[in-house]
Symmetry: C2
Subunit: 202 residues, 2 copies
Amino acid sequence: MRSNSRKEFTFIELARRQQIIDATIESAAKEGYAGTAVSKVAQKVNISKSVVLYHFRNKDELIEETVTQIYDSLWSFVQPRILAESTANAQLRAYIEAEFEYLEMNRDQLLALSSIITNHRNKQGDLYLLEKATEAYLDLIGPMLEAGQQSGDFRSFAIVPMARTLMHAINGALEHWVRHPDISLRDYAGELMTLFDLATQQ
Amino acid sequence: MRSNSRKEFTFIELARRQQIIDATIESAAKEGYAGTAVSKVAQKVNISKSVVLYHFRNKDELIEETVTQIYDSLWSFVQPRILAESTANAQLRAYIEAEFEYLEMNRDQLLALSSIITNHRNKQGDLYLLEKATEAYLDLIGPMLEAGQQSGDFRSFAIVPMARTLMHAINGALEHWVRHPDISLRDYAGELMTLFDLATQQ
DNA sequence: GACAAATTAGAACGTTCGGTCTATTTTTAT
DNA sequence: ATAAAAATAGACCGAACGTTCTAATTTGTC
């Protein structure tokens, strides 16, 4: 009897789950969300697909845990880098730099994330993961921008368009990098840093 | 016998095809690319699904013609507005303004476009519509930015990151508008205009 | 009005999907 | 060593997919 109430996972189960999640990330990155079927994920790990559904209640749970894991990993990398800076300008640059560094190390993770959250819907048809992700993003980046306006480092722009543009600009970099793997991500990051330096400047 | 060699379409056939394409747009906008099945499109028009595949060779052709039509419509609206301006700064603002105007009038078109091109793959698994669309975009916006640099109106930034950020910024506005239909698109457009004014400025 | 072409509906096909069920093997605990 | 629990493979299910086929109906033409 597993996972009734708050039973902890065994090491084996944790390993299996991680293995399956990794395969899900790889599949979603390479074949997209639509191409990520339970059977294909299982095949990647060389297990029967019923094993996937033994370790995860259903596909939705697998998808959600995959997304959660990626987000936790990403933000736990990025957030300290932001908080390490004291001025708003430095924080903004640190955020872009950190996100690009993470991007370079975890391409498939962010590709999978993007493909999943823009396609995965609940029974009601809502892109609820996209909604949650966007809200979480604004909650993290919004205050940073507002602080910059309070301190006088930033001009008074509307927070949402600026934060969204920043978010989508970085996603655009990922999209570009996928199709042109030889570009310098460092250069791209540098371009975005000056771009948003100028865009936010007083 | 229809569509052998270069037989023209009858008025009725043209009307049917347009009807089907419109339903495809509506479906892709509301249910996403994955939710856009031939049977559902047919249902929207109250015809049998075999009728859809009578007027279009297969689903791929339906999707491609839908995308082509949206792009032709969008660019034939936007491009004259750009060319009507003489300075690079004015062209950039005109482009953003025009794209937002089109957006406000044709929400479903651009939602469908976005969902389709980021998901539709050929047998080899390539997102070829996304690739084509991005290249076409860069071919149109890139020269405008380069001209601005030549004339000294713009600083010397890398074209691709700037063009891509512009593209994704507008797509981000669409995404935001969908979830917050009451926002002022005019305001959002204004924010982007100043943002990119500053970002490109000498 | 008759005949051919264009258009349509609906059944059917093979495939894939997420999910369930059962039986078997492997692991763990005593 | 043995009994219980965990883990796995594989068959199976109903639903949905794109596509094909056939038969019927509508339309256009002479």
